[in-house]
């Protein structure tokens, strides 16, 4: 954890197909937000978006990173992976659309709700994806949010 200019930066490596450790980064972020005394409604939203982002990297990518920056005004969440990239972002944003395998779905993932959940719970959502290169999902959750 780095603390600079009152901004706390957290960084986690997320490993492809590591279902045992999956969720640990999000749980860790949540614990830190709780220690910082952040409002529980904000914590819930951050927990949902970080978990969905983390699971997307585990399920769909070759691995990546989850970065979280906490300042007094907002929480910024960046999920960056090493590919393969999203073919059709518009489709991926549709509730119920998923490219997950049946095996993954049997575990309760791949409901096609990851990105829609992230959109619902964040104040800003930007997706940058290039086929063959990777995907970056950037989100902001404001401390004083309209959603509360």
């Amino acid at each position: 954890m780095n603390k600079k200019d009152d901004t706390i930066k957290l960084e986690y490596d997320i490993i492809q197909n590591d279902f045992v450790r999956a969720g640990e980064a999000s749980s860790n972020v949540k614990k830190i937000l709780k220690q910082l005394g952040i409002d529980s409604k904000i914590i819930r939203r951050v927990a949902i978006v970080t978990y969905e982002a983390e699971m997307n990297i585990v399920i769909h990518s070759y691995g990546g990173k989850l970065l979280v920056e906490i300042s007094s005004k907002k929480i910024e969440i960046t999920a960056k992976d090493n590919g393969p990239g999203i073919e059709d972002i518009e489709k991926a944003m549709q509730e119920g659309f998923s490219t997950a395998s049946n095996e993954i779905r049997e575990l309760g993932f791949g409901a096609g709700m990851g990105l829609p959940n992230m959109k619902k719970c964040s104040d800003v959502l930007k997706i940058d994806s290039e086929k063959g290169k990777g995907t970056t999902v950037y989100m902001e959750i404001f401390m004083k949010s309209n959603q509360n």
Partner: protein, 109 residues
């Protein structure tokens, strides 16, 4: 309602013991983890047939009071270990999710 009372009334097997006086305020049933994350409320008891380790992360992240595994499904060892670490109680019942929900409803949860 106290979780210990629910355990008695459901006649459920305790897989991971509750450490303290956990309160249950509501019930959520579901096996799709994203839906559980989005819809389950704090202190809900969660009825599911999923048994892999990731259910503990879901329960931790949205502050669920306990997980009830329906249909007598076996719980993975690493799930139990993680639930102990994170202090998430796990119960197991031979009943279906519907039957468990009916019982909880009758209890007034």
């Amino acid at each position: 309602m106290k979780l210990t009372k629910i355990i008695d009334e459901l006649n459920a097997t305790v897989v991971v013991e509750p450490k303290d006086e956990t309160e249950v305020e509501g019930v959520y049933i579901g096996d799709l983890l994203s839906l559980v994350m989005a819809k389950a409320q704090e202190n809900d008891i969660w009825i599911t047939i999923q048994t892999h380790i990731n259910i503990v992360a879901v329960a931790t992240l949205v502050n669920l009071s306990a997980i009830v595994i329906a249909e007598g499904m076996d719980v993975d060892e690493d799930t139990i270990k993680k639930a102990k670490e994170e202090n998430i109680p796990i119960l197991k019942s031979e009943l279906s999710a519907y039957e468990i929900a009916c019982k909880l409803c009758r209890l007034g949860v």
